[in-house]
Each structure stands twice: as C-alpha cells, then as structure tokens.
C-alpha cells in the first residue's frame, strides 16, 4: 500500500505543518470583521487629575516668586 511507505512521511508532515499552522493562520488572522458603527459618548475620556480640581491662588502669575 503506497501510503505505508514511511520514506516520504517526514517531508509530508513537515510541509503540512508549515502550511497549516503558519501560512493559513497568518492569512486567516488578517481577516477583519468590523463591528457595527454605533454612537460615541460625547463626554471626554481624559483622566481625572486631582490637582486640576481647584485652581488655587498660588498659581496666579503675579503671586509666584520672581524668577
């Protein structure tokens, strides 16, 4: 039976592994299925920095020490 001749087995398995696991998966992984477009919230997503809560007098330019 020609399929049981083990001399070719190494070549076949090696090339199959290469094709299936690398080539095909690289191609299929590039398929991009975008989501349905939806509305985006208007509120800005910038992070809340604690020192921007209050504007204190010490930062006014006239009250800073002269440079």
């Amino acid at each position: 039976m020609p399929q049981l001749d083990t001399s070719t087995w190494f070549t076949m398995i090696l090339s199959m592994t290469l094709t299936l696991f690398i080539l095909f998966q690289l191609k299929v992984s590039k398929h991009y299925y975008p989501e349905n477009p939806g509305p985006k919230s208007v509120k800005s997503t910038s992070k809340h920095i604690p020192w921007e809560d209050k504007w204190t007098k010490i930062y006014s330019p006239l009250s800073l020490p002269p440079q």
Binding site: Q3, L4, T6, T8, W9, T11, M12, I13, L14, S15, M16, T17, L18, T19, L20, L23, F24, Q25, L26, K27, V28, S29, K30, H31, Y32, Y33
Partner: protein, 212 residues
Amino acid sequence: MGLPIAVLIVMFPSILFPSPNRLINNRLISIQQWLIQLTSKQMLMIHNQKGRTWALMLMSLIMFIGSTNLLGLLPHSFTPTTQLSMNLGMAIPLWAGTVITGFRHKTKASLAHFLPQGTPLPLIPMLVIIETISLFIQPMALAVRLTANITAGHLLIHLIGGATLALINISATTALITFTILVLLTILEFAVALIQAYVFTLLVSLYLHDNT
C-alpha cells in the same frame, strides 16, 4: 533547488487565499471573508469562551482540507490528503491538544468521560476499558477516515474513466452509460471533498467541546 515538489504542492492552496490588506478588498477576498464568517458562526455556536479561542485553528483547518480536496479533483493532480502521514500529522496533535486542554482545565470532568452515567456496578471495569479504547481510537479514525474517503473516490474515478475509454471501441452505448456514471461520480466527489473537510473540522470541534 533540491526541494521535493510535494512541499510546493502542499503549500499551493495558500496562494489561492490572498491576505486582505486594504479597508475595502477585492471580490475574491471579500467572498472568502464572507464564507469564513459563515462557517465560523455555524461552527463556533456550540462552544463557550474557552473553546472559541480555537476559532483560528478550526477555520484554517477547514479551509486547508477543503481547498486541498477540491484541487485534487483536477486531472493529473496530487492530493496531499491522500497521504496517511499528513492526516495523522493533523489528527494526532489536534486531538491531543483537545484532550490535554480538558485535563488541564476540568480534570475531574474529563476523567469522568470514561464512565457513562448509570452503569451497573459489575460492568464498570469493562466499560472503562472500552471507553479508553474508544478515546484512543479517535485520532486514528479521524486520519484514516479522511485518507480512505479521498483515496477511494479518486480510485473510483480512475477505474470508471478507464473503463469508459476502453468501452468506446467495443460498444458506444455502454460507454455512454459508463460516462454518465462518471459524471455523477464527479459530482459526488465534489460533495465528498467539502464534506470530508467539514467532518474533520466538526469532529475536532466536538472533541474540543467535550473538553472545555
């Protein structure tokens, strides 16, 4: 180049699937993308989150086996899936992957597969042996099923085609009947090519479902 041509033949179907690089692709890539979305939705419906991580593997598996089988229906072509070596090389690692995933994540449940519910006490040892054998036969069955189906189909086409050719000189009517059989057989082989790819992938996904 001392490269055996079988390597190039195995890698050939990947040329028929160009990789999508643009936002809007050409028709061929769009059709393939749509087909992959269709099959992946159908096939991944039964899986939970853990099983869906195998989506890429299953999709490239079905595309590879399907395209290789279909290309083998061209005259004088070589079909790599007729080689038992390649099918064993596909079946054993994938099946072992599902079993090991099951062992790692649900050890007790995967061991519990060896004993169906509600067996009477004296039958337990025999049933465990039978279940173990049926587990270990799964990869062999996967590989041999694919090899045998594709090889048998190709063999039938060869033999009936040869018979048609030989019969033309003897009696044209019989040759015509044989030719009709050949046409029907070729249509069957198209179906078989696709079905075998599907069955292989489906079974791997079922083994995965058992184990995730």
